[in-house]
Symmetry: C2
Subunit: 523 residues, 2 copies
């Protein structure tokens, strides 16, 4: 049995706190360090931490901290079916959607891996029928577009991954259906998408685990209105992804239903049927299987005790050192890949919703800071935007770069002796060193203090397998940080109060400030 204790109870944490500000990057960053500080990831990716403010001593204490806090033992308990989500009294099983990691997990008499696999198989079978024209619209014509209706985890992850693989799929003849997304309860979102569609050839995927998500149910009916107005039968144009106990399950209002359960948290659901249905419809079930394979390989690495063999754990520990010892309040993700344009938005949810907590898993207030603010935009775009503050602002903000040798579409141009892809990578490389080492100048306005730490995840190309590995890396990093901060990373009580007050506002059962604000909006 593992022991759940607060971070600041650990001997190695006390030791770590004495190691603040030890590493001066401009003194240590050289070619040898770049080559040495490199840990293999899954999917052909590599995690490089040469430009992080760590040294042998700090890494050794981080290893001790990990051991002392039983991080990988906790992971094992998680994937073998312990009730890790104590607040909601739930298992946490998203890893099982991509493969078996340890002992079978049996819940209510069912093998959970078998359950998740059965849903993947059912989706694959359905998808094959859609792609081959065995399932069509009322006129016997193939569906060409798939539209996800979902919000939060049912939107951000699947959307980010679709965008991440769209150009790769176009290049490799894997784009079976174009995908679109409706999420916001703002009717301009649903109307904007619905009115742009060829409705007769559109298939909608309604995603809500509980079957009660306010925004999603409103958008379902909104979309059904457009379908009906176009003379189409909504039940022939919509499938559902939900839990077996939800009102959407086994419902003749849908062409088919696929299932998840309470052990898959929304923000961790991209590898479940929530991502599986739309991504398999868009790219084919084989592509989704490759994505799962990459994620599963990453999960296997996350079982390693040795932080030099476990990049997610190492990343988590360095992030903790930056947040709690170096006291940096934010973190930035900078993918040098336009395909990853919405991946930071997904990570924003995954990270901030998981570890943005002020009480530990027993409900006691913690005496240390937890999850940082996370933001990010693709490079090189960000260089022409907020990098000014990252380079010369008054706060230090740690950075996470991601880059690939090859682009996805295979189209490029050489200008001034280099291709655009090389320019992209050269910019990335230059930024790492500029952030770390800075530059002195007679003009203080042109002085760069440097000492902005960054890590780099790099690979040959962003493809289904490396995308799966990248996603699982961050999911596991967040999980390990939750273990270290002794949080329940898998509930989200912070979203409940707003929901409750919204209902009161809509019911007109409000007074005071809430009533005055409501009047502003004629509610």
């Amino acid at each position: 049995m593992v022991t759940w204790e607060n971070l600041d109870k650990q001997e190695s944490y006390k030791k770590l706190m004495s190691l603040k500000g030890q590493v001066i990057l401009k003194d240590v960053l050289n070619a040898e360090r770049v080559k040495k500080c490199s840990v293999p990831m899954a999917g052909g990716l590599t995690y490089n931490y040469a430009a992080k403010q760590v040294n042998e001593q700090i890494l050794s204490v981080l290893q001790s901290l990990s051991d002392e806090m039983q991080t990988t033992e906790k992971f094992q308990e998680l994937y073998e079916g312990a009730m890790i989500n104590t607040g909601e009294k739930r298992l946490v099983l998203h890893h099982l959607t991509r493969g078996q990691l340890g002992k079978d997990v049996i819940s209510e008499g069912k093998n959970k891996r078998d359950f998740y696999k059965s849903q993947q198989d059912a989706i694959a079978e359905f998808v094959e029928k859609v792609h081959s024209g065995k399932i069509t619209n009322a006129n016997g014509e193939k569906f060409t577009t798939v539209v996800q209706i979902g919000i939060g985890g049912s939107d951000l992850g699947p959307r980010a991954i679709y965008l991440a693989l769209e150009q790769w799929a176009r290049k490799n003849n894997k784009l079976k259906m174009e995908a679109k997304f409706i999420s916001n309860v703002d009717p301009d979102d649903g109307a904007g998408v619905a009115l742009s569609l060829d409705l007769a050839h559109s298939l909608f995927v309604l995603v809500s685990k509980s079957g009660t998500t306010q925004e999603t149910l409103a958008n379902e009916l909104f979309v059904k209105g457009f379908l009906t107005k176009a003379g189409l039968d909504p039940s022939k144009h919509m499938i559902a992804v939900t839990s077996e106990t939800s009102p959407l399950a086994n419902n003749p209002a849908y062409l088919a239903s696929f299932y998840i359960d309470d052990y898959i948290g929304g923000r961790y659901s991209s590898s479940s049927a929530v991502g599986g249905a739309i991504l398999s419809l868009a790219f084919g079930a084989d592509v989704f299987a490759d994505f799962l394979k990459g994620a599963h390989e990453a999960d296997k690495l996350a079982t390693e005790k040795d932080i030099m063999k476990n990049p997610a754990l190492l990343d988590a520990l360095i992030g903790l050192y930056e947040r709690n010892v170096q006291e940096y309040p934010s973190t930035v993700v900078l993918p040098y890949s336009q395909a990853l344009s919405r991946f930071p938005a997904h990570l924003q949810q995954a990270d901030m919703e998981s570890n943005g907590k002020h009480v530990n898993r027993f409900g006691d207030k913690v005496d240390y800071v937890t999850g940082p603010v996370l933001l990010g935009e693709p490079g090189t775009n960000g260089q022409h935007s907020f990098y000014q503050l990252l380079h010369q602002g008054t706060d230090i903000i740690p950075l996470q770069f991601v880059g690939f040798i090859d682009n996805q579409r295979g189209e490029d141009i050489e200008v001034d002796g280099s291709t655009s892809q090389k320019k992209l990578c050269a910019n990335l490389v230059a930024q790492i060193v500029a952030f770390a080492c800075g530059k002195s100048d007679e003009d203080p306005n042109k002085t760069f203090d440097g000492e902005r730490p960054s890590s780099l995840i790099h690979g040959k190309q962003l493809n289904p397998e490396s995308m799966g590995a990248l996603l699982a890396h961050f999911e596991n990093k967040i999980m390990f940080q939750g273990f270290l901060w002794n949080l329940n990373s898998f509930d989200q009580e912070g979203v409940q109060l707003g929901k409750k007050l919204t209902k009161q506002v809509l019911a007109g059962q409000v007074d005071g400030a809430l009533k005055a604000y409501s009047e502003i909006f004629d509610i």
Copy 2:
């Protein structure tokens, strides 16, 4: 003449520092306060600061600070043509693109307002010819799509504004041409867009003030390759927006050229020809003129000394109180409007590139923190994502809500007794109060400490005029904060080092860490 001094030299700043933590929101936020703490903005918008941690005393000291630091006098110097951008020795004249505010600004014998107006007129004339079919493709067919090629300020602002008005334009028969954007040097960005286009009916707007932006020039040639391959003459499909002294000016490679000058900073260029060309082509010059009108009205309010009549100044001062006195490191923008989905990304540049500085306008290091990290996503989406941390994380992060009574497209549905638009607004209202007042609970995991301050910008509908006002509000807020922190908000030296190192990497003139990183990417 105004005096430029550091914030911490001001008597009222010392006074302000003694007023930390004075206001407990849950004690003061009531209906009366919501009604009282309201300042009219331009474009029919209103700034409400009821849920900010200020009281009469703090506001009075903020007014004194503003007076002591001569904020509006500095603004007057700026719009009347003083060399406010001392680093680059440039005037700062983006306000003149939307109207005359004070004395004529004459530079090199030219009236600058006349110059900017002449470019607007030239664009309007060109646009009319494109829309009416007087300027067509080689087959005499109308152009249907306009594609901006630009990065940073030439991308984020125009893109955010296009998205902000697209559904409004579709509803009001003002969408003349669909707009797309190519920005990243990642060839997958340009290829992804170019290969999705009906090239024969596409008109490209190449935007680079200097005519030397690496990414933009590479993308220009990339796009020209696609055009040529399609048998089209690039010079008949591309216009340029640049400075009169750039290599792109008066160049037969372009169908037409429109001009800006060095006094329009990239991140402030949406109201110049940089935004004017694409937005006028997309929506018509009359719509762009309404947008400018809203911005100009906002600029006029920014000349008011009384902070109760100057919402941008008030917003700036409250932000400064939050950053320097309350010591909050980040700020979040939360538009409850899908149309504003990319507006936070634009503000990220506008704010973080302007005030992410560590030296004052004389090059001396400042002893206080300056620009905060800025992030944001639209509500209600964000509620299902990172709001958990905002509600229950260990840091307090001030919030900026934006919302409108009416949607743009005019399509809606009533579910459970309320329309989606009402649900959207009810969620916004509920969040303000949840963040401010929190909720106690027996279960500490369900306890909300509250005291998360927020302001609210609200209006009837997001349309060209209110969009202009919204943009100018934030531009002016950022400008005032720059005055208060005594920064040069109009240069961006922090981006130079990366550019320089990139050139070295591409030229192979590197050693050490830079060489080792380059080898990772086969450069």
